[in-house]
Amino acid sequence: MLTIPRVAVRGMAACVPRFTEETRDIEFYATPEEAAKVEETTGVVRKHIVKDSGVTGVDLCIRAAERLLDDLGWERESIDLIVNVTQTSDYINHPNVFIAHERLGLKKECMSLDIYHGCPGWVVGMMSASSLLSHGAMHRCLLLDGDNISSIQWKMDHESRPLFGDCGTATALEYDDNACPLFFDTGTNSEDGKALIHEPGGYRNPYTLESLRQELDLRSGKLAPEESGMDGMSVFSFGISVPPKSIKRLCEAHNLDLADIDKLVLHQANLFMVQKIAKKLKVEEQRVPISLGEYGNVTSATIPLTIVSQCADEYRTKSMKTVACGFGTGLSWATVYMETTGLIIPDVIIY
């Protein structure tokens, strides 16, 4: 549990690749009915993917950041801190944050922090960035968050293929003596972490010729996996039980009533899970925006993408009280309560 004063959210932008994949077109569904059933449960009609364009998550993030800086009227020299959250780094040994720092033309005095994280990543990034800003020495921060997760997917994996899309986002934060405090709750169930793990190719189990060939065949679809790369049942079970408890704990600690919250923005794991969590918290669907239909699950970028794509007008024009919760990778979770006013939000950018 953490309270961070004196940091305001000023704006958000999201950028997605132009290619789309329709759920109904996925080749392993035997019948249209089968595809329709998956569409109904996951909520994913289509998602934007980088395909073989060579575009990566950081390209999408940079495009989102450029537009956001322009719309905010922020000079590049005014950025004191850049934080980047991803699990698809362009290079093995050069964190994406440095690529973004260079291409955005930020100043040398700017601090750069890269965070390797999955689905809870945006909230974890918010927590880390605002914590650094709250000291008052650094005034403006860009929080980038995005992946091109579809590039490393196993094409014939029935659990993950229909779900994951690509997206890059940028969130602008600023030191402000009068800002409403941000409240956070976060935690880690690492003993269940194997539910979302990919072992080959890392420094513990470097690729051999054989394991590399297998991985490439799985990615191209030449080989179908014997079982899914993720333990969907364990992740589901975690998702419906732990995040609602975190949200309730945060609300109780700060005397917040969920009935007074304008939006409950949940990580867009899949529709079935989002609806279960919302129902458990007794928050009606009008206050729980869903972006799965057009974008799928874009891992850690789902929360900003959902705000930008589903309720930008409200966030642009009103004061909004938001509870957002990301969960998954770790297994871990992170919840934030934030009050915002008149956010600068460009429409979703197509790369």
């Binding site: 059933k37 539910a195 333990d231 969907g232 049942m233 079970s237 975690f238 039980s241």
Partner: protein
């Protein structure tokens, strides 16, 4: 924990299967209607009714409904 109530809660997650067909000793993975979606519904039912977080391995390890009942019970105790 009551086994009969558990079996009934379990059977409620199926749409097309006759509830009489589902008993404590039923090997549920063999039921025609059993699918990954039904498995998620069962996990959600166990979370709601018993406040127990089942794992994928628990679902895979259980052969009969009673096996799953025993796993849930062991997690309550």
């Amino acid at each position: 924990m009551d086994i009969d109530l558990f079996v009934q809660n379990f059977a409620d997650q199926f749409d097309d299967t006759d509830p009489d067909e589902i008993k404590a000793e039923t090997a549920f993975h063999d039921l025609d209607e059993y699918s990954s979606l039904i498995a998620l519904s069962i996990i959600a039912m166990v979370d709601e009714e018993y406040d127990v977080q089942l794992k994928g391995d628990d679902m895979r390890a259980a052969v009969t409904v009673e096996d799953l009942f025993n796993i849930v019970q062991s997690k309550i105790a």
